[in-house]
């Protein structure tokens, strides 16, 4: 008998336990640490479900980038807190929220047990359509993202522009155009600097690699981009580099590069393959890699911009 089922049960229990701890923790920092660990374990769950692409994304975005975002936000909140916190929610509201969460979770558990088995899937159809515009990609996830549902992916990248602008827009009027506040305190001999110098170059290479193999193996622009973003953030936290000014032309160009190239390729579809967002069979793979390269750039720039926050105008 295999030991794996027991490990799976233990993993599941650990995930639930960490989730409870993340909610129950009194201290903001402890809660964020719990959340990051929760994300990493969730990535393991996805690996066990044979979904390595989701696992990569969960580890990079759900745990990594979101973790940094929460820690940075927590630090800035701590600095601004002094007497500004409103009244905490009353017991009735807490009980109501808890009951609602339990109700939804309970209903989902009950429903998941009666979902059709095997689950209806489009995978066979996707394979049958291999002669179609999605051809030439060994990784079906990438095929879905960039070919079958390319329209969604393009729009999601537009949402990313809006998210960055939305974050910038809560800054002060007179700070507009300036750079966001630095992510960490300057300490030239700190361990962070050493970590950044060691890790960032290696991580950047791995990020590009994950993007490059994404056409045929687990990986892709989003996972690779998130890793590149993480490396840039580490460099910013070590103060090897600073967040760029929000009116920097190169930053804006990098942010829109992905959706812009995607949009142009989609618009050129009728000329190339007879339909918007269709790619000619013979050139599908190079075109898709070309689009993905620019998306990689946009993601790698957008995520750190979200973490760095609105323009600040002061140096410390």
């Amino acid at each position: 008998m295999s030991v794996l089922p027991f490990l799976d049960v233990a993993l599941a229990l650990l995930v639930v336990g960490l989730a409870v701890w993340t909610i129950a923790a009194r201290d903001l920092f402890a809660s964020v640490v719990g959340y990051v660990a929760y994300g990493l374990l969730l990535a393991l769950v996805w690996v066990r479900l044979y979904a390595p692409d989701v696992a990569l994304t969960e580890a990079a975005v759900g745990s990594g980038v979101t973790g940094v975002l929460l820690i940075t936000a927590g630090k800035r909140l701590g600095a601004a807190r002094a007497g500004e916190a409103g009244p905490s929610p009353g017991l009735a509201l807490k009980l109501f929220a808890g009951a609602l969460a339990l109700l939804v979770a309970g209903a989902l558990v009950a429903i998941i047990l009666i979902l059709p088995d095997p689950a209806p899937s489009l995978a066979p159809q996707a394979a049958a359509a291999a002669d179609g515009p999605g051809a030439g990609l060994g990784n079906p996830i990438t095929a879905v993202l960039i070919s079958y549902r390319s329209f969604d992916t393009m729009l999601e990248k537009v949402v990313l522009i809006l998210a960055v602008l939305g974050v910038w827009s809560v800054g002060a009027d007179k700070a507009w155009g300036a750079a966001p506040a630095p992510l960490g305190r300057r300490n030239p001999y700190g361990a962070t600097v050493f970590l950044a110098q060691m890790l960032a170059p290696v991580g950047a290479v791995i990020g590009v690699h994950i993007f490059w193999v994404g056409a045929d193996a687990p990986g892709g622009a989003f996972q690779g981009g998130a890793l590149l973003a993480a490396m840039w953030m580490i460099a910013m936290m070590a103060r090897i580099t600073e967040p760029p000014r929000v009116d920097a032309r190169w930053l804006r160009l990098a942010l829109v590069a992905g959706p812009a190239v995607f949009l142009i390729a989609g618009l050129a579809g009728p000329l190339m393959a007879g339909s918007f967002f269709a790619f000619p069979h013979a050139f599908a793979k190079p075109i898709i890699l070309f689009i993905e390269a620019f998306m990689l750039l946009s993601i790698a720039v957008a995520l750190p911009a979200l973490v760095a926050g609105p323009p600040n105008g002061r140096s410390e």
Partner: protein, 500 residues
Amino acid sequence: MMPPDPTTPGGALLVLAILLPCAGIILSFVLGGRNAERVALGLTPFGFALACAIAFHVASAGKPIVYALGGLAPPLGIALRADGVSAVMLVAAAVILTAAGFYARAKFATPEGGPESRSALTFWIMLQAIWAALTIIFVGGDLFNLYVALELLTFAAVPLVCIDGRPETLAAALRYLLFALFGSISYLLGVALFYGAYGTLDIPLLAQRVQSTPIVWLAAALMTGGLLAKTALFPLHLWLPPAHANAPAAASAVLSGLVVKGSFFLTLRLWFYVLPALSAAGAANILGALALAAIITGSVLALRQARLKLLIAYSTVAQIGYLFLVFPLATGAHVWSGIGWSAGVMQILAHAFAKAAMFLSAGLLAEALGHDQIARFAGAARALPMTFLTLGLGGLSLMGLPPSGGFSAKWLMLQASVASGQWVWTLPVLAGGLLAAGYVYRILTPALSEGDIMLKAPPKRSREAIALGLALIALALGFAPQGFFDLLEIGRPLAAGTLQ
């Protein structure tokens, strides 16, 4: 076996109508400064022309126009579909967004050679983003594609609320964001359940496959709950009044007139297009009961507001209630369902135009007087006759007096309630009209009384004319010919078993 490509003539217009504002967002963001305004306003005629061309195609073909993206038919690919209601909504959105854009030039213009400003860049880009999101919502044929549109709409609408940057606007925006994100995640859970159960997210394909199972009911409940939070139906309306009252007037007009209609439109798509096979009388009655509560609560609270913008915002809470009466009045395949359907769409349009006109007028009023305290309006109607005419005409439509779109909507609602024997729904329609009369008179009576008033600055005629134009459209809807109602019927799944 690949299903045949369902694309129809004119389908390409749907893609162009979505990509146009997306391209505008990208250009505005890169070029920055004054160019953001130039791009946003420069694209409005093209967006309007595309919406009209789509409406013309749908009306002349007599059936929905379809485009399969990438030449891939659903379920593998994503299809866009415009039916009669989509076409009408596209044109209405184009008119209101264009009006709001030109009205907003006075506040968000960047002077020649001046530096880029935070509020202007945000406003012009988010205005185009709302255009893009609403277009996808009106023509999207795939539940996940529609989720992306909802995200686009949320991320565009929330920054507009706090564009002024005052602390109370930030608090209002944050509350809006929390409600909207709850709505998104709840909607997405429902979408995942649909995919897990049926392996497709295409609306017509799902409509053929769904059966009355616990999975479908849970998915429908989650999606509906999420959409109600975004639409601000009672009791999930708490975020709306501070958010809509604190935004700049042009943004309030778009938020109240159009953005809440986006999530409402998806609720219609869900129940009338994905789930017509369900016998949903129970669910429809629950929504009807919430509608009743919304109409009464919203109107009573509107009566008690001291500030004009808050009064108009609470009026939106009540008018959203009317929208949801479409569920008890149009569910099923009865002879009266068509009347209820027409009433619902007419209410969307009438409220969109009347409310946009009123918010734009309230903005002019606040700029001219320096405040929007109703108690200090004495003499204002004489100083600002055109603005108060607009407020009065918009109020006429809200009350449901003839001739106006509001009258047509309420008249059709009464007809549908009587024809269906659901007398109970006549009560909110009539009571809501009376209460609306109460809060509209509360604005007009002090303004028409004698008093000396000092104008800080007289409003520009062109801005007053824009608001008046929208109010006149709300009235003109009362004269909509039969052909208009025939257009609304194009593509409506009539009943269980008679799906198109």
